[in-house]
Symmetry: C2
Subunit: 251 residues, 2 copies
């Protein structure tokens, strides 16, 4: 297996051998002025559909970079179908959530408003930028979809059949996460993490009663929302997701 070049970009265009691809101004600026790349440099590309490709910088002018696609590095592979539903928190911690959830392999980021959610607006474009950057750095072959923020009730009302919901029950109503996940969650799943203030009593009763939900607990300490997100997604990937297969040997 090839080692990816250090420069790695997510693009929208199809990736086909021999094609040439003109970067947008922002990505051109990043390559030339942030990463100080020059003509001839190798850049790995992925678009979420066509695997990872090796390309090379051909022309590089002030605001223009043209890349020539040389050869495939890795085929597109199936990834866990795991959504993260989370109550938006203040800026620094919502950035952490978007970055870490992307590294941890979620397929979708979905901000949801709950009764006790303090935030009333979410900048989805900003979340997507963070997700793209994290995907580029962690060597993912895809970028999680960022859903527009919605009330939790509406998301649950349109819940797709066959998708399990792992509910982080910070009030202590859940079973230990390893025991819950040991039962095996095959197929589509979602993790739901509430706001710093917790779910309301009636909201929690409603969630616990959902036929597709499993309430889990993360031990005796109070975790911040961003910690709980990372902890739950890590346990999911370790026990039910793509951390179960032996890792890629890199050296």
């Amino acid at each position: 297996m090839d080692i990816s070049p250090k420069l790695r970009l997510f693009v929208d265009s199809p990736l086909v051998e021999g094609d040439r691809l003109c970067l947008d101004q922002k990505q051109a600026h990043y390559l030339l002025h942030v990463m100080r790349a020059q003509a001839g440099a190798e850049v790995a590309l992925f678009n979420g559909r066509d695997g990872e490709w090796l390309s090379r910088i051909g022309e590089a002018a002030k605001r223009t970079v043209v890349l020539s696609l040389e050869r495939p590095l890795r085929p597109q592979a199936a990834e866990p179908d795991l959504w993260l539903l989370f109550a938006p928190v203040k800026r620094a911690r919502i950035d952490v959530i978007a970055e870490k959830a992307t590294e941890l392999g979620v397929s979708a980021l979905w901000p949801v408003f709950t009764r006790h959610t303090a935030m009333t607006r979410v900048n989805e474009d900003r979340l997507r930028l963070i997700a793209v950057e994290a995907a580029e750095q962690c060597e993912r072959l895809s970028v999680p979809e960022v859903h527009p923020a919605q009330p939790l009730e509406s998301v649950l009302a349109a819940w797709p059949s066959g998708r399990r919901l792992v509910l982080l029950d910070e009030a202590g109503g859940g079973v230990p996460i390893a025991a819950a996940l040991a039962a095996g969650f095959c197929g589509p799943a979602a993790v739901l993490v509430g706001p710093e203030g917790g779910f309301s009593k009636s909201e929690l009763d409603g969630l616990r009663a959902l036929s597709f939900a499993t309430s889990v607990g993360l031990g005796p300490r109070i975790l911040r929302a961003d910690t709980a997100v990372i902890a739950a997604l890590s346990c999911f990937q370790a026990l039910c997701g793509d951390w179960r297969t032996p890792p890629t040997v890199r050296s």
Copy 2:
């Protein structure tokens, strides 16, 4: 079980019923001017030895707060004996590591210098402040010990017998973490996370050969050092630590 009051402080003094306790200036300032607490307010106290106590603000002057100890809230309980050894990373991410590792219940934070560690100095006092604050907020009954930063080699040379080392092998030499931990780690353990640049080849060969070490992998994506710390500690607590017991019911 009592619900802890919202104000919660770590103190050094012994906690004994009926005692009065004079806070230092910094904690007095925090209570009076940051949290705007007044005489009569309840404050939970813990010192890592005597459990959690309910106290009440008696006198509250400009720079002086005297607390009266009223009654015990929770007894001191055994906590997992889990060290975190980590290569120091730049400031924002080392802060995240100290905060999250405390929430995730480590008993010791130990910065270690590896071949590829870019940082040469660590502010242990700052790490301790972050750990104290995180312990106060997550309702821990202890604060992790912060060891002075040391070369990894020296720490390993004096390794205590009977303590297992979970080595995060980012080069892909480890077994999937859930499989490794399913074997059961009873007793003292430590998690070791290397620097952003990874371990050197010879360092990794040496680590893999240690009789007390188990190499583990965290899936196909490259995780940042702070993400890897949180992920590994979460899997440990879920599979071998104190997340296995049913959570405390809080509402």
